[in-house]
Symmetry: C2
Amino acid sequence: MEYYSKEISSLIEELGRLPGIGAKTAQRLAFHILHMPKDDVERLSHTLTQARQNVHYCKECFTLTDQDICPICANAKRDHKQIMVVEDTRDLAAYEKTGKYEGVYHVLHGAISPMQGIGPDDIKLKELMARIAKEDIEELIIATNSSLEGETTAMYISRLVKPTGVKVSRIASGVPVGGDLENIDEVTLLRALEGRTEL
Amino acid sequence: MEYYSKEISSLIEELGRLPGIGAKTAQRLAFHILHMPKDDVERLSHTLTQARQNVHYCKECFTLTDQDICPICANAKRDHKQIMVVEDTRDLAAYEKTGKYEGVYHVLHGAISPMQGIGPDDIKLKELMARIAKEDIEELIIATNSSLEGETTAMYISRLVKPTGVKVSRIASGVPVGGDLENIDEVTLLRALEGRTEL
């Protein structure tokens, strides 16, 4: 880094702090930015600061939004009695892209992971329980990832919520559509077998 | 993108404009930034704007620097009679990292490429000729890349400079140190053969 002047080094260093941006990429990005029109760099900077300043959690479902209540929670046409629990806003977006889910969401912002020291209090679980107590919920669909952490979280929530009488379901694990059996790991194959449905 | 609120979408869009940042990476970076402490985002933004504002070409060698004259050109201990011509600031840094080159540089900011419509006037070539006319130069070492464009540029500069009486040399092409012959392309192998030196 000492081969570049101070401002260039700081730029490379700052960019290199972003996840998945190694030293080489940070350098490439930095030189791209130094050659961009000044106005474009101003706009990029402004967008960064503005987004960070104005984006916060939706008061209902805790997804990231620039409004008080996100458009999904504010939409009266959605089924507010059905809550899909996801780990983060990107997972919510993934289900929204299907265009078929009509309920609302609850974003946990993480999953329980004893290995990483993330407990039930570190994710938006109290907030979920508060919604269940306050609102008239019929079904909770747990759509945490199909990882160890996601499964642990699903089990934990299920045990917590079942006594309240709310129906709790879990999205299916199995062979992805278009997946070639020979390329799929054993755990998934066993899951698909266990979860088989009658035709 | 329409699954995210406006500020999040603009952030993803802006990041996605950077080279080598695809849609997925832009999304990942955006959510990372939205979860970063506000101060860190401010600092990142500030660094971007400041670097773009204060970094410009060195008046001597045209490398990117935040000073009028870069530290290399300003260093009286460097051999100012030897100029290494490189395509960009990163190539300069690569040679500086060796710690063995004692001369100064000239950064072209590109290479002649008829395919991409980049001609001799689009790179800092007039500026190089002005230096040769004005300063007392003994040797010009052409260290453009070993690509078609780099070679074309090297040939062009060599023809232009030779009549001035300045010695013109080209860095060697060949098998990289530690390179395994069987993994090296034919063109490089032939270059290494042509460039063989007596032991």
